[in-house]
């Protein structure tokens, strides 16, 4: 047993336990976010250290390949940014539950890291539930009307989705006789018949994960959960769990269902159709939103649609495109949400109309939010443009012109509601001229996201080269 291969996960679990213990014994609780954020450096360094090594851990249940490490680093970075930027919000809103808050965030990040690495269905299921269970609790953390309601909606719909996913896994296990993804791939490649039960299993698995990433028609939970949950949790949920969801989808569909050819063609078209429906419905519903968190939720649905284009392409370029797009989307979406956290700390509202004249009150925050929204729209020189470019190019390589046409048309529709927010912020009348205070954590996180969005927009090679190396999944 090579323990050092799972050292990032082990240190992550230890860090979460340390935070819980410190919460019990330490009087000065304001050290907790510092311990959590600084402690994340340990798993981060250990994960990067494994980049050149690779191998299989825990009886072949966890893959320590470049693909998994790319996602682990992404998830750890997201977690660190969320913890850094949320300490004031956490102090204000749930002072007595700070330890639990940080421990749950860390545990759910642990679940997501395991999801990115798991190559066996029991492990995938358990790590998925570890992350979901922590997120259910975090969603209901404010314990007020909206937060509890969103927590209830999340756990009921999430429970149904995970039961559906489980049934799909059971069917695939029944028709192939193994839960290891490579074993399933081998069993199917070697004379896998077009059994209806097997196809049902694949579709059920796809639906279960479509819920996790929030693809239409399994997106109904997203706006309600995003609106009611504490804003840092929303920020975390909108990027980290999507990233890990895509990691596990890529791994399952490439390693287990990559062969035979008919199955591959089937799921490529399945995700292609889902991509079109997801981006169209996400954008159309986003247009009519008046709450910034709901708007970002529906914009997130639309973004999932663009990312699914890369999955429908089902080639190596699609894989690395998805990884690049997810990193870029995480930077921009986190930047937007962190600006929303800073603003809602002060004005206590998430209505877009209350953002009127925000440029006069907080020029830096408004500019950051503006740049992040431009990146989400996909306009150069921001990274969002490059992300769309690589993903759409992967689809073009496979001759899926129809997908790219839908993607481009939808990007234009999306510009409408992103610009609407910017118009309110930059041209609208300011309701008051009181400034919006921000703290060092929020500033640091915003600098990282803005720097990343602009750097990757001008020089995408800085990340695409790593994504290309990490796109190692083969059928």
């Amino acid at each position: 047993m090579e323990w050092h291969l799972i050292s990032p996960e082990l240190t992550m679990a230890v860090l979460a336990l340390v935070v819980i213990l410190l919460d019990l014994v330490v009087e000065k609780k304001h050290y907790l976010p510092i311990v959590s954020a600084v402690g994340l450096i340990v798993p981060l360094v250990l994960a990067i250290d494994l980049w050149n090594e690779g191998g299989l851990a825990m009886n072949d249940m966890l893959a320590v390949d470049k693909f998994a490490i790319f996602f682990k680093v992404l998830i750890l970075g997201i977690t660190a940014m969320v913890i850094m930027s949320s300490w004031r919000y956490v102090n204000d809103k749930f002072e007595h539950l700070r330890g639990e808050f940080y421990a749950l965030i860390l545990l759910s990040a642990l679940g997501l890291m395991l999801m990115a690495a798991a190559r066996e269905m029991i492990t995938i299921y358990v790590s998925l539930e570890l992350s979901s269970m922590s997120l259910y609790a975090l969603t209901a953390f404010l314990k007020d009307r909206k937060s509890t309601e969103s927590g209830l909606k999340y756990i009921l719909l999430g429970g149904i989705a995970s039961a559906i996913l489980l049934y799909g896994m059971v069917l695939v296990f029944g028709f192939t006789g193994t839960t290891h993804l490579d074993g399933i791939g081998a069993a199917l490649a070697d004379g896998g018949a077009r059994e209806p039960g097997l196809l049902l299993g694949v579709v059920l698995i796809a639906s279960g994960f479509a819920f996790k990433i929030g693809a239409v028609p399994f997106h109904m939970w997203m706006p309600d959960v995003y609106e009611g949950a504490p804003t840092p949790v929303t920020a975390y949920l909108s990027v980290a769990s999507k990233a890990a969801g895509f990691a596990v989808i890529l791994r399952i569909f490439f390693e287990a269902f990559g062969e035979p050819g008919w199955l591959y063609d089937d799921w490529s078209v399945l995700w292609g159709v889902l991509a079109v429906v997801t981006m169209s419905i996400g954008n159309l519903l986003a247009i009519q939103q008046s709450n910034i968190k709901r708007l970002l939720a529906y914009s997130g649905v639309a973004q999932v649609g663009y990312i699914l284009v890369g999955l429908a392409a089902a080639n190596a370029a699609g894989q690395s495109g998805i990884m690049f797009y997810l990193a870029v989307y995480s930077l921009a979406n986190l930047g937007a949400f962190i600006a929303v956290i800073a603003i809602s700390n002060k004005i206590g509202s998430d209505e877009i109309s209350d953002y009127s004249g925000m440029f006069k009150r907080a020029p830096v925050l408004a500019l950051v939010l503006g740049v992040c929204l431009i990146s989400l729209t996909g306009i150069p020189p921001t990274a969002g443009f490059m992300g769309k470019l690589v993903v759409f190019k992967a689809a073009m390589d496979e001759g899926m012109l129809w997908l790219v046409v839908f993607g481009v048309v939808n990007s234009v529709i999306a510009a409408f509601y992103y610009f609407k927010v910017m118009k309110v912020m930059f041209i609208g009348e300011a309701k008051s001229l009181v400034g919006i205070p921000s703290d060092s954590g929020i500033r640091a996180a915003l600098v990282i996201s803005i720097f990343g969005v602009l750097l990757l927009g001008i020089y995408p090679y800085a990340l695409t080269k790593w994504a290309d190396i990490a796109a190692v999944l083969l059928p």
């Binding site: 269905m121 029991i122 299921y125 358990v126 539930e129 269970m133 259910y136 609790a137 209901a140 314990k143 007020d144 009307r145 909206k146 509890t148 309601e149 969103s150 927590g151 209830l152 909606k153 756990i155 009921l156 429970g159 149904i160 995970s162 039961a163 559906i164 489980l166 049934y167 059971v170 069917l171 296990f173 029944g174 006789g177 193994t178 839960t179 706006p223 309600d224 609106e227 009611g228 519903l285 009519q288 939103q289 709901r294």
Partner: protein, 105 residues
């Protein structure tokens, strides 16, 4: 008549459908949680049956282990779910999901 894998799979399919129908149609949040448990246990029956009948005269243990993990996860899910339902009741004095609709659009 010998009981073979088909019988178990039919039973499991029926249970899963009952659970899914209940989860989508019930008004009581606790009832929905119970229906989710039925769905998970339907999957358990199927996975143990597959495990038992997959290879002639030998038992593949993967399915049994899978079922044990699912039981643990189901218990954890019920704990978190009931905690949220209790908070909901304290807030609104109802657990009827039709009345929990302050967010729309």
């Amino acid at each position: 008549m010998e009981v073979d894998i088909t019988h178990y799979l039919v039973l499991s399919g029926i249970l899963f459908s009952i659970g899914l129908f209940g989860a989508l149609s019930k008004h009581n949040a606790v009832g929905i949680l119970m229906c989710i448990e039925i769905m998970l246990n339907a999957a358990n029956i199927a996975v143990v049956a597959f495990s038992r009948f997959l290879v002639e005269d030998t038992v593949v243990l993967t399915g049994h282990v899978f079922a044990l993990f699912v039981i643990v996860v189901a218990a954890a899910e019920a704990a978190v779910g009931l905690a949220i339902v209790i908070t909901l009741y304290r807030n609104r004095e109802t657990v009827d999901v039709e009345k929990v609709d302050s967010m729309k659009g």
